[in-house]
């Protein structure tokens, strides 16, 4: 019988190694798997490469992971959200590396990584600083930039409901990068507010099929970055 449930967020992230590449879902606070990120802070892995659209706000979640000094490099499209101070301070102090990627290219690189596509050409960023130093080729008279697929060792994402086989459905704009990130790593870990036995989800409505998911953790009432920040929280 397939059962991908793990007892806790702590158990689910126990084997993340130093130097691991970790994809973390979320666009702003929507879809940010805060409990998994906090478990990763407790677990202690360092020199991480984090692939995520943003870099967190306040002193919780992604920002707390950065503040704890666990991240060597960030692959990201927009690292300066309002309320974000941890990353800018670390970046200006030269304590974290940044690979800036256009948002659509980031999504497509992750999708490609998960689909076994080594690289692809896109006109996005051609002729700009973010296209510099990359292979280019003209298609239909237009310059395209070669972008490489991205893969990770671990992916941390947040679902609304998952089943024991790892099928996942999301909540509104919390979906964002999670479906691609689930496909692109060796070990995908999902925290879900509801976990049900296989057979209870509408198979027509499943967004991420269970084959892409390795571990499911039940987090009944996931925290929200904005609520934690309003309360002045910091982690740990």
């Amino acid at each position: 019988m397939i059962d991908k449930r793990f007892a806790s967020a702590r158990d689910a992230v126990a084997d993340v190694h130093d130097g691991a590449t970790v994809m973390i879902g979320g666009f702003g606070e929507a879809g940010s798997p805060i409990e998994l990120i906090h478990a990763l802070i407790d677990q202690g892995a360092k020199d991480l490469v984090v692939v995520s659209n943003n870099t967190g706000t306040g002193l919780v979640g992604l920002a707390a992971l950065l503040r704890a000094g666990r991240v060597r490099k960030v692959v990201c499209s927009f690292p300066k959200t309002a309320g974000s101070t941890v990353f800018p301070d670390l970046y200006r102090a030269g304590k974290v590396e940044l690979e800036l990627v256009p948002q659509g290219t980031l999504a497509e690189r992750i999708r490609a990584g998960g689909a076994g596509i080594a690289a692809f050409y896109t006109p996005t960023a051609a002729g700009t600083p973010l296209g510099e130093g990359k292979e280019t080729r003209a298609f239909n008279g237009r310059e395209h930039v070669l972008e490489h697929g991205l893969r990770a060792d671990f992916t941390l994402i947040k679902g609304r409901v998952a089943d024991t086989h790892g099928n996942v459905m999301y909540h509104r704009t919390a979906r964002n990068f999670a479906p691609m990130m689930a496909t692109a790593s060796s070990c995908t870990i999902v925290q879900a507010a509801e976990v049900v036995p296989a057979g209870e989800l509408d198979a027509e409505a499943v967004v991420t099929p269970g084959i892409f998911v390795d571990r499911v953790v039940h987090v009944a009432e996931p925290a929200l970055e904005s609520a934690l920040n309003e309360a002045g929280a910091s982690y740990p």
Partner: protein, 233 residues
């Protein structure tokens, strides 16, 4: 989106030309009903308030929603129903959610009709700079801007004609880092509507009370006027 009350304080009448709301209203007139539109964060969002009655536009927000509706009152709404500016929004009947690869397939695959963006500089050849000053202490952040300009069918720029210091934003060549090459279709400024064509900047329309000479002096590249429309009363 439905019309929201204007913010009178923020829309104080400028010394000359269109106010921010005035530019937004002018842009809105040029968007056909049924268009799929992505409005950039900030000033371009104002366009939604001025869509003429009877027209329906479908708003795309690149974080994964087509059919975006107005923001709810402060403190209301769903923290996981947000727009690309990370502000809470609502959804209209017929809305759909999707992941980032699908969202950017809409953008990069040429499915969106129009993107309205802000600008730091626009060049006479259509180059756009709107994501970074390139300053040493700046935190570089690009989001979906480069994807939008590379993939959306038409790109409108909404901007003040000059910077706060009075430097032209319409220039011969951009000096800031580019967002994309040859991507801008048309510019709506506080002083004029300007097309970007193979011949360079072509003046289409002047804001009320603004003369051609006044705009020309504040434009950093030649400004053709043989296609200029007659001004209304």
């Amino acid at each position: 989106m439905s019309a929201a009350p204007k913010d009178r304080a923020a829309d104080a009448a400028p010394a000359v030309g269109w106010s921010r709301d005035g530019i937004a209203e002018r842009v809105a007139q040029d968007i056909p009903s049924g268009s799929y539109v992505n409005l950039g964060i900030g000033i371009p969002e104002l366009v939604a308030r001025f869509v003429p009655g009877g027209r329906t536009l479908v708003y795309h927000t690149e974080n994964g929603l087509l059919g975006m509706g107005p923001s709810p009152a402060a403190g209301q709404g769903d923290p996981e129903l947000i727009n690309a500016g990370k502000r809470r929004v609502s959804m209209m009947p017929g809305a759909a959610f999707f992941d980032q690869a699908t969202s950017f397939a809409m953008i990069r695959g040429g499915h969106l009709d129009l993107s309205v963006l802000g600008a730091m500089q626009v060049a006479a050849n259509g180059d756009l700079a709107n994501w970074s000053t390139g300053a040493d202490d700046a935190i570089p952040a690009v989001g979906g801007a480069m994807d939008l300009v590379a993939g959306v069918k038409r790109v409108f720029v909404m901007t003040t004609h000059v910077t706060k210091e009075g430097t032209p934003k319409l220039v011969e060549r951009c000096t800031y880092p580019l967002t994309g090459r040859g991507v801008v279709t048309r510019i709506y400024s506080d002083l004029a509507v300007v097309d970007v064509t193979p011949r360079g900047f072509e003046l289409l329309e002047l804001a009320p009370g603004v003369s051609y000479e006044f705009v020309k002096e504040r434009t950093g590249a030649p400004l053709l006027r043989d296609r200029m429309r007659q001004q209304g009363p």
